[in-house]
Subunit: 800 residues, 2 copies
C-alpha cells in the first residue's frame, strides 16, 4: 500500500507518452535535489533498451556536482527498446523460446515496496526519491497490466511529464485524466518548452484552471548522449540546473517539497478537523476522546485502506515506518464491497454515465443504464417471479417502498374498504432481530429497540426464530423455548452432519422439526389473525441471516414454513405479500444470488442494495411481482405509487451496478470460487448447498474454543459470538476482546497486503458478535492471514 | 444535439494522437463505403497544414473507383501544421497582428450540425458520413476548448484511430478513457498493424475484455503522397480496399454498419422494454397507454436531453429529420441540475473519488472529500450557527435525521422523563402544503394527503400561510381567511411595489401585517401548547417556497415570525428546535445560498440535497447546531444518533459535491448572474433583495393573462398557476394546457439548443401549477426561447 515518510519525499514519474523526456527531466530533478543537499534515490523498476542507454547509467553520469548523494537502480532490465510486456516476449524469443520468468503484479509491487522501505531506512537526513515508470501511463508493464494499474497499490504522489510535441496537448491531458481515474494525486506536470508548438503555454493555463502546477523546462540538444554529445548533454544539464539554485527546475522542486509538506500537514490536521465538523453515524461522540481514535483514510485499494498513523513518524530514525499503513477493511465497508475498493472498471463506469447523462429525471423516461439493470435483475434475483423494478437510494428507502407496495396490495387483494385508522393499524409479521434500515417507516416494521427513535411504533409481530451455527465443532440448529417445548424431549438443539444438510430445505420439509415449526406457526398466526383491529398485511423477512440484528443465521426451514403458512388460503383468505429484505444477504454476499432457490419459495417483493453498486455509491431496487404492480394501476394519478427520490434510477449508479454485475458474473465462475466451494464439498458428496470463503476447519476449530459461544460462516461472512452475560448492542465485549487486531502485526515476514507491509484489521462488532466479511474476489491469502491472526488472538485469550 | 438518421450512418473519427493515420484510415473507410455503393460524406470541420496536403484533397484523390459518390469538405482551414487554436494565433500574427475571427464553440457546433443536416437531406439512398477531428482527442480546437468537449453536444458515435507507434498503447487507452469520460459511444478502434511494436495485438485483447472492437490495417508506405509517391499511395489504398469487397477494412465497415443498425434497434425497443420492466416513481402506469408516451433519453448535455423520436424517421425522404431531437429539461430533472447535464468536471470528480477510495465506511473514519465538504457547508449555509454535518442519501433521509435530532434534543432540553407513548405523541408545527420527502417518517411531519401512504400518521399542526405572487402585474401577498379576518378591512391581499420590498423582512417587522401575524401565531401556538398529551417538539419549514406542495411562495415575514414565536421563552419554556428543509430551495436554487440571511434568523437544523451534488447522484446533509449535537453526547453507545446508511458520506458524492460548489462559487460572480440581477434592480435603487433568471417583464405580462391566476419567479424558478376549479395534485389542467410545449417548434430559425435544431420542452406540473427551472448556468438565450414559447402558447389560449 501507500508509502509516506516525513524525511523522504517520494514522487512517481509518469510519462504522457514514450520519449517525452521522462528520464531527462527526472535527471534534472535529481541533480537539483542533490544540489539542494538531499540524499536522492532513483528507482526505475523496469528498464528496456540497450544497456549503454540505460536510464540509471544516464542518471549516474549526469547527476551533477553532488552525485555522491545519488543512488540509482533498476530492478528488472530487458534489452529491447519496446514496451516491457513485449520486451519479455522478445527476450523469450531470443533465448530460443525459453520462457522468461515474469514477476506477477503482486510480486512486482512487493519488490518496489521493499526497495522503497530499504531506501527510507538508508536516508537519515532529508531525502528525495523518484520512481520512474516506463513509457506512457498506460504502457503495459511486465505482466501486461498497464503502468498506472500496476503501481496503483503503492499510491505514490505523481509527476506527469507532459508531451511538448505536436499532439502533445492531447496526450498530456488524456494521461492526466487516466491518472485521475485511478485516484492518483498529481502534484505537478513538467514538460519541455517547445517554442514552435507552445504546448506549455496552453497546458499551463488549462491546468491552472484545474489546480495543477505546470513547469516548462528548456528542451535538450538534439541526439542527447550520442558519443560526440556527452559534453553537450552535460552542459545542458548544468545550464538547466545551475549551481545558483535558481530557475524553473528549483521552483518545481520547491513546489514538490511543499506538496509533500502540505500533504502531511493535512493528514495531521484531519483528526482534529473531523472531530470539530463531522457528526458520525452510529458513533457515540462522547466516547471518542482523542484524535488517535479517528481513522484517517488516505486512499483504499482492493480490500485495504491506507490509513494515516502519525505515530509511525515517531519511531526510531534508523527504522522509519511509513506514515501510511495498510489496514484490512474487515467489514467490507459496512457490507458494501463486492470487488474491492477503487476498481478501475467501476470508476470508468461511473464516469461514463456521468459524462453521457448526468442525472435524468426518471418518471415516464428511460435510459439504457436503468433499463439494462432492471432487465438483468428480473433475470437474476427476480427470475421466475418478479415483473417490475422500482428504484430508490438505499436499502432503507427500498424497504419503505416495499412496505408501501405490500400494504396497498394487501388492501386491494382483500377487497376491504378500510378506514384511515384501520389502515394505520395494518401489521406485518416477521422475526425477532429484524432490521430493515434506519428510516422511521422501515423501523416500524421491527420491534422497539436501541435503534428505534421517539416516533417508533412497532407495527407487527415478531417470532423468536431457531438459528443455525457451529457450536463446539458441530453444526447445530438452536431452538428457542417456544419451539423447544414442542419437541418430545424438550431439546434446545438439533445437530446436523454438515451445513449443507441444514440448507437442504426440501429434504427437511418432512422432518419432525418441520412438523413442529408448522404446528407452532399455524397456531400463532391463527391467533394473530383473530385480532381484527390489527390485521396482518405482510410477511417480512431477511432470508438466511439477520445482519444488523447480530448476524443471526435463521434456520432456513423455519423461514420456508413461514412463507408456506402465510400462503395457506385456509389461514389467510387474502394472500399476505411476502417481502424478502435481501439488502445485506443478496447478490452473492452469502455465496448465492438470492434466497428463493435455497428456500424453495419466491417472495412477492424483494429489495437489493449494498453489493448492487459494487461498494461505490448508493442505489437500491425493489422488485415486485405483477400482482403487486397491478394493485397500483388505475385511471387515477393518485392511485400511483407516489414515491420517488430526486435521483431515482440515477444513471451513474445504474451503470456502476451493471459493471458490478458483469464483474461478479465472471467471479462466480472463477478458480477462486471453484476452489473455495470444493473445500466445502466433502469427498464423494454431491454438490454442496452452501459454502464459504472461510476455511471449514478454521470455523470448526474456533467454535471449540472456550470463550466462543458459536461461530458461523456462509459465503463471504464469518461471525463469531463470544460468551458474554451482558450481550446485546450496548455490549463492548467483542470490540474489547479483539482490540489488538487493529494494530499492524509485524512478525518480520511479508504480509498479504499489497506491497507486503504489516497490516491491522478494521472491523465492526455487534455487541458480543464479531463479524468479518470479504469481497467476492478477496484472495485466499488475505483471508488466510486474517484466519491466522484471529486464531492466535482468540486462542491466546483462551489460554490466559 | 445528437444526430441519428436511419439511412445515413455517421461516425466521428478521433485520433489517439496526431499523426496516427486518421486521414489515411478515414480515406480507406470512405473508399470502402463508396465501393459498397454508399453515398459518402466526409467532413473535416477544421483543417490545418499546407493546402497541398489538405485532408479533403487527399480523400478526393484516393477515394477509389466510386469516387463520384464521395463528397469531401472542410469548414475552417488554416495554413500552419499546428494545433488549430495555435493556427488561429499564427494566422493572426502572419496578418500583422490582425485579429482572425474565431467562431465560438456554439457557432462552430452549429456549423457542423447544419452541414450534417444538409448532407442528411442530400443522401437519399444509404449513406455514410465521417466527421474527422483534428489531432488527438484533447487537441484544442479553434476556441481553445479541446476536441472531445467541443464536439460533445453533437454526441456522434465515434471511431478511435489507435496509435501503432512506440508508446501508442498508452495514448490509445488514455484517449479511449477520455472519450468514455465524456460519455461517448466508441464503436471501433482502428490502427495500423505495426509488426515491430505489435500494439494491435495487445490492444485487441485489452479492448476485447472491455467489449470494444479493434481492427488492424496494413500500414502505409513511407512518405505518403510525396510527389514521387502518389502512385505508391494509390496502390496502397487499392490493396487495402480491394474491389473484391473482402478483407479487414470491409469487416470493420460491416461492424460499423451493425453498430448503427443495433443502436437504432435498441432505441426502438426501449419503450416496450421499459413498459415491461420498469415501475416508475410518481407515474400512474394505467395512464401510460402507448410506447410513444415513454421518453427515451439517449444522452444529455447542458440543459437538454437528446430524445429518441421514432416518428422522425418516417418523415418525407426529402426532409429527413434526426431520430434524436433536443428537448429542454424544463424541470432541471426534478430540481437537481446545477451546471447542466454531463459536465466533464463533475464526471472527473466522480471518477477520481471512485478511483482513490471507492466507498469507505464512515463511522469514526474520515477522508478528504467528506471532511472538506462538511467544512465548506459549515462556512456556507451553516455559517454562524451550525457546528456539525451529518450525511445521508437524499432529502427525505436527511429530513428523517433532522427529525430524530429535533425530537431527542427537545426531550433533553426539556428535562422531562417522557414515557414511550408520550414520545410517540410528540408533535411538529409547520405550514399547510409542506413536503419533506417520501419516506414514511418524513411524511408524518406533513398533513395527510395524496402523497401519504396507509401507515401515515399526521404528527403535527400546520398553519395556512400567506403567500407571495405576481397577480395582474402586481406584487401581492395573499392572506388566508384566518389572517384576513384580523385586518381592519378584512382584506385578502396586500400589494407591494416590488418583490424586494416583500423580501425585506427586517423592514417589515414593524408593519401592521407583522402585528397580525404575531398576534395570530401567538394565539394559536398558545392553544397548541395547552395540549399536554401532544407536546410540540419542533418547528419545520421549507423556507421561502414549498416546492412539491405546489410551488407555494410563502410570505417570508410569516416564516420569520413563526421562528420568533417558537423562540419566545414566555411561550415555549423549552426552546423548540427549528428545522429548515432547504432541500429544494437551498444552494442558490432561488438565487441565494440559504434562507437564514433573508429571513434574519437561523435554524437549529437544516437539510440540503439536490443541487448539492450538481445533478449527478444522491447525497444529503443535515446540519446541526452544537446544542442539538450535544443532546446525543454521553458515555453510552445507545444514546448516539443510531442512524446511518451503508454509503453514508460516500466519497464519490462528496467529491462531486465539492466540485459542484466550486463551479457554483464561480457562477455566482459571473457576468450571467450580474446581468440577471441588474435586470431586477430598478434604476437608482439599492441592491435588490431577490431576483430571477426569468425576465421581470415577462412575469408581469404573463400574470396579466386571463387564464393565469398568478405567477412568480425567484432565482431559477418560474411558477405559473392557472385558474382551475378542480385544482390540486390530481388536476391535469396545467399538463393539458401546455401539452404542445413537448413538441419541437420548427419555425425555420436556429434554435437555442446546441446545434440549433428545433426543440421541445420537458416539463413537470403540480396540478394547476406549471413550473420551469433552469440550471445555475443556463444561457439567457435558452430562457428567452422558453419565455417566448410560453408567451405564445399561453396568450393564444387566452385569445381562443
Amino acid at each position: 500500500m501507500s508509502h509516506l515518510y516525513k524525511h523522504l519525499r517520494i514522487h512517481q514519474v509518469f510519462g504522457a507518452n514514450t520519449d517525452v523526456g521522462k528520464t531527462i527531466i527526472t535527471t534534472a530533478l535529481i541533480r537539483a535535489s542533490a544540489l539542494n543537499s538531499n540524499r536522492v534515490f532513483y528507482l526505475k523498476p523496469v528498464s528496456t533498451g540497450a544497456p549503454q542507454d540505460a536510464d540509471d547509467e544516464h542518471i549516474k553520469r549526469h547527476a551533477g556536482p553532488q552525485k555522491h548523494l545519488v543512488d540509482a537502480h533498476c530492478l528488472f532490465r530487458y534489452g529491447d527498446p519496446v514496451s516491457p510486456h513485449l520486451a519479455v516476449k522478445m527476450a523469450s524469443e531470443t533465448q530460443g523460446g525459453l520462457k522468461v520468468s515474469v514477476p506477477s503484479d503482486e510480486t512486482f509491487v512487493r519488490s518496489v515496496a521493499e526497495h522503497i522501505r530499504k531506501r527510507a531506512r538508508v536516508a537519515s537526513g532529508p531525502g528525495h526519491m523518484y520512481v520512474e515508470t516506463a513509457g506512457g501511463v498506460h504502457s503495459p508493464t511486465l505482466s501486461g497490466t498497464t503502468q498506472l494499474d500496476t503501481y496503483r497499490p503503492l499510491f505514490l504522489p505523481t509527476i506527469l511529464i507532459g508531451d511538448s510535441r505536436l499532439g502533445g496537448i492531447s496526450s498530456t491531458i488524456s494521461s492526466f485524466e487516466s491518472l485521475l481515474l485511478r485516484g492518483y494525486i498529481i502534484d505537478a506536470i513538467i514538460l519541455f518548452r517547445d517554442e514552435y508548438y507552445r504546448n506549455y503555454e496552453y497546458l499551463t493555463q488549462y491546468f491552472a484552471e484545474r489546480g495543477t502546477h505546470v513547469t516548462a523546462l528548456d528542451p535538450p540538444p538534439p541526439r542527447l548522449d550520442s558519443i560526440e554529445n556527452v559534453a553537450n548533454t552535460e552542459k545542458y544539464y548544468s545550464d538547466l540546473v545551475p549551481d545558483t539554485l535558481k530557475g524553473d527546475i528549483f521552483t518545481a522542486l520547491e513546489h514538490l517539497d511543499q506538496c509533500h509538506v502540505r500533504r502531511i500537514e493535512e493528514l495531521d490536521s484531519m483528526p482534529r478537523r473531523t472531530l470539530d465538523a463531522i457528526w458520525w453515524p452510529f458513533v457515540q461522540h462522547g466516547l471518542v476522546k482523542t484524535e488517535k481514535e479517528v481513522s484517517v483514510i488516505d486512499s483504499a485499494w482492493s480490500d485495504f485502506f491506507s490509513i494515516y498513523d502519525a505515530s509511525s513518524g515517531k519511531t526510531s530514525p534508523s527504522q522509519p515506518k511509513s506514515l501510511l499503513q495498510p489496514q484490512l477493511d474487515g467489514s467490507a465497508s459496512w457490507w458494501t464491497q463486492a470487488v474491492g475498493h477503487a476498481h478501475p472498471t467501476l470508476a470508468l463506469a461511473a464516469a461514463n454515465a456521468a459524462g453521457r447523462y448526468g442525472h435524468i429525471m426518471f418518471p415516464q423516461a428511460t435510459h439504457i443504464p436503468a433499463l439494462k439493470l432492471a432487465e438483468r435483475l428480473l433475470q437474476g434475483p427476480g427470475k421466475g417471479w418478479a415483473s417490475r423494478v422500482f428504484f430508490s437510494d438505499n436499502g432503507s428507502t427500498g424497504m419503505e417502498v416495499a412496505l408501501k407496495m405490500a400494504l396497498r396490495s394487501f388492501i386491494v387483494s382483500s377487497g376491504l374498504e378500510l378506514s384511515s385508522p384501520e389502515k394505520k393499524n395494518l401489521r406485518v409479521v416477521g422475526l425477532k432481530g429484524s432490521y430493515h434500515g434506519d428510516t422511521i417507516g422501515a423501523m416500524d416494521a421491527c420491534e422497539e429497540g436501541v435503534y428505534t427513535c421517539e416516533w417508533h411504533e412497532a407495527k407487527g409481530y415478531w417470532f423468536d426464530p431457531p438459528t443455525v451455527s457451529i457450536r463446539q465443532g458441530q453444526v447445530t440448529v438452536s431452538l428457542p423455548p417456544a419451539l423447544s417445548s414442542l419437541t418430545s424431549d424438550q431439546r434446545t438443539i438439533e445437530r446436523f452432519e454438515t451445513l449443507s444438510h441444514v440448507y437442504d430445505v426440501e429434504q427437511r420439509l418432512e422432518s419432525p422439526l418441520a412438523k413442529h415449526y408448522r404446528q407452532y406457526l399455524n397456531k400463532h398466526m391463527r391467533s394473530l389473525q383473530a385480532d381484527d383491529t390489527r390485521k396482518l398485511a405482510a410477511l417480512i423477512i431477511e432470508p438466511i441471516v439477520m445482519g444488523a440484528g447480530g448476524m443471526i443465521f435463521v434456520d432456513p426451514l423455519f423461514q420456508r414454513i413461514m412463507v408456506d403458512v402465510v400462503r395457506d388460503p385456509a389461514l389467510f383468505p387474502t394472500l399476505l405479500p411476502v417481502i424478502f429484505d435481501e439488502v445485506f444477504m443478496g447478490l452473492y454476499r452469502l455465496g448465492f444470488e438470492s434466497a428463493g432457490p435455497l428456500l424453495g419459495v419466491n417472495p412477492d417483493i424483494s429489495v437489493n442494495a449494498k453489493i448492487l453498486t459494487g461498494g461505490v455509491l448508493p442505489l437500491a431496487v425493489t422488485l415486485a411481482s405483477d400482482r403487486i404492480f397491478s394493485a397500483f394501476k388505475s385511471e387515477s394519478k393518485v392511485d400511483a405509487l407516489l414515491h420517488g427520490h430526486s435521483y431515482t434510477a440515477h444513471a451513474v449508479g445504474c451503470q456502476v451496478a451493471n459493471a458490478t454485475l458483469d464483474l461478479v458474473g465472471r467471479l462466480v465462475e472463477s478458480d477462486l470460487w471453484v476452489g473455495a466451494i470444493s473445500k466445502w464439498t466433502p469427498e464423494g458428496a454431491l454438490a454442496t448447498k452452501v459454502w464459504s470463503f472461510w476455511d471449514p476447519e478454521f470455523i470448526t476449530s474456533i467454535s471449540c474454543l472456550d470463550i466462543v459461544d458459536e461461530a458461523m460462516a456462509l459465503g463471504t461472512v464469518l461471525a463469531i459470538k463470544f460468551k458474554d452475560d451482558d450481550a446485546g448492542y450496548a455490549s463492548h465485549s467483542a470490540q474489547t476482546l479483539l482490540q489488538s487486531l487493529r494494530l499492524p502485526l509485524d512478525d518480520g515476514s511479508t504480509s498479504a497486503a499489497p506491497g507486503g507491509a504489516p497490516f491491522g484489521v478494521h472491523y465492526r462488532t455487534l455487541g458480543n458478535v464479531a463479524y468479518f466479511m470479504s469481497s467476492l474476489n478477496t484472495p485466499r491469502a488475505t483471508i488466510e492471514a486474517l484466519e491466522d491472526r484471529l486464531w492466535r488472538l482468540v486462542s491466546s485469550v483462551q489460554r490466559s
